[in-house]
Amino acid sequence: MGASANKQSFDLPASGLRKFWLDFSESPTAVIALFVFLTILFIAIFAPWVSPSNPYDLTSVDIMNSRLPPGSEDFSGNFYILGTDGAGRDMLSAIFYGLRVSLGVGALSGLVALILGASIGLSAAYFGGRFETIMMRIVDIQLSFPSILMALIILAAFGKGVEKTIIALILVQWAYYARAARASALVEKNKEYVEAAHCLALGNRRIILSHIAPNCMAPLIVVGTLQTAHAISLEATLSFLGLGLPITEPSLGLLIGNGFEYMYSGDFWISIFPGVALLITIVSINLVGDQLRDMFNPRLQK
């Protein structure tokens, strides 16, 4: 039968993670952005251990230290590399804790929106018919509203708070995931391995979850990275406007907002530095997402 003759299978140059890295590292910009983002992530997760001080520990904060410019020392010898804010909190520490909140809210809302949106998109593509038409029209309508407007309306209706902000972010984002998932699922649905699954009489649930969904992950990951950046930026806007997170869980947006009044008196560092931190975060996520998108775009593949 020639079993031994077919022993030799293809010698791929690299597979799995190694191949992923080879492709990803074709863009030096993306590699730098990835390292920046991983650093930010590390800081965000380990903020209490990495920060010079805990800015929300009322015992360690002294109002006498307020509005110190960057690079100054206080009477107890603490060095404030980025200065202090109006209440005497170390800006660097405040930014580290703020990153934690911003990333946490962005990631959590992104994850839930992904699960919700992908489920709807996959089912719509698979079952088709009226269900698909209705769901996709809802998606279209939702996507035609500016996300800021939608978030403001939701928060105005339901009030402020961490949970409500996260819910608002989920409700604003799910439609992007639904659309990406549906587009991908429509392509996969017609491929022969799905036809084979039908032929083998595997049930609908098995086909959607075990066959179609795993093959739709790539575009969803791309949407995920870009949307997370969008969510972080959105949350920052809402907090800046005073509508998002409360002062007990300050995100970067809130820091920017609170520091804004000091801009007029020349104490720029209270608002600008959190802004720069936000900018670096969002740009690095976007650059990583761009490279992922180019990697998965079949037309750009050689």
Partner: protein, 330 residues
């Protein structure tokens, strides 16, 4: 048989390698053959044999990381491999034309056929008027058997069927009366009856205009019907070449024999087809010695150590194999 005085195209030891991250891929590794005026030569091989890259190399269409690193492509006295891209532009579509498997690689979907054909003419002859170019386009469409050419000129590619599009591609290739046409799998994607039409048109054209034709395909049967000579490629090299009739009657290289034995037909009903066991070796990892050794029934020690040179036989026949029966040699 046409006696070629001076061949139109003479390729000598062509080597086109791809320098990838994973290693050097020797897509074309020492290919030599020639085509005379008005001759039809088939270049036969399976996937990975390097036949398409050979065609692209002649046209100068090999993109990085591929590069022609050695050998000469002598076209009517000029070495094409030494020319710059700008200089090649003067030849492409003018003296040498190419037809692809997918006609949509030649045709722009948003332009009318007329626009594309006139463009192809005027690109190489600035002095010709638009009206004269249009008339030549119309006449060439008629040459390839397209009825009502005036109407067809105004149409867009999507309004044609697959077979018609391929004929339009052939017409575009013929516009400037090239000396050589390279056709890369031109009928592979077409239905049998349409394939017959296209092959018939090309046969007629080449006979009437004395255009040389290099027909690249995996289908030996098509080559048998149309070509004068054939080159069989495997893993970047030509393993056998000669007159079509001779090779079909008496294939010498084990790969050619295996290839012919693999083709099913009514003659072989009831018997298992001769299969060539194993697979083409990875082009990144060719074995030392003959590339066919691990699939060959006659392989011996010599085959694993050295690559066979070309053995020259009568009637312009060449074989690359240590096991060519002695006494056949010239």
């Amino acid at each position: 048989m046409r006696q070629a005085l001076d061949p139109i195209l003479k390729i000598n030891n062509l080597q086109t390698h791809f320098f990838t991250k994973a290693g050097i891929l020797k897509a074309v590794d020492g290919v030599s053959f020639e085509i005379g005026a008005g001759e039809i030569v088939g270049l036969v091989g399976e996937s990975g044999s390097g036949k398409s890259i050979t065609g692209f190399s002649v046209m100068g269409l090999v993109d990085p990381p591929g590069k022609i690193i050695d050998g000469s492509i002598n076209f009517k006295g000029q070495d094409l491999s030494a020319l710059s891209n700008n200089e090649m532009q003067g030849f492409r579509g003018n003296r040498i034309a190419m037809i692809f498997q997918d006609p949509m690689m030649t045709l722009n979907p948003v332009l009318r056929i007329e626009t594309q054909m006139i463009e192809a003419i005027q690109a190489h002859d600035g002095s010709i008027s638009r009206e004269d170019a249009r008339i030549r386009s119309r006449d060439t469409l008629g040459l390839v058997g397209i009825s009502s050419p005036d109407e067809r000129l105004r149409a867009y590619p999507h309004q044609f069927s697959g077979g018609m599009r391929q004929r339009v591609s052939i017409a575009i290739a013929m516009l400037n009366r090239p000396d050589l046409i390279i056709a890369d799998e031109p009928t592979t994607a077409l239905d049998v009856t349409i394939q017959g039409q296209v092959i018939s048109e090309m046969q007629k054209l080449c006979r009437e205009t004395q255009t040389a034709l290099l027909w690249i395909t995996h289908d030996l049967a098509v080559v048998a019907g149309i070509a004068d000579r054939v080159c069989v490629m495997y893993a970047g090299r030509i393993v056998e070449q000669g007159l079509v009739a001779n090779i079909i009657a008496n294939p010498m290289h084990p790969y050619t024999q295996g290839l012919m034995g693999s083709v099913p037909s009514q003659n072989r009903r009831g018997k298992p087809l001769q299969q060539i066991n194993g697979m083409v070796p990875s082009m990144l990892n060719l074995p030392a010695g003959c590339a066919f050794q691990n699939r060959c029934n006659y392989a011996n020690e010599k085959c694993s150590k050295m690559q066979p040179d070309i053995t020259q036989l009568a009637d312009r026949r060449q074989v690359r194999c240590f096991n060519v029966p002695a006494g056949q040699q010239v």
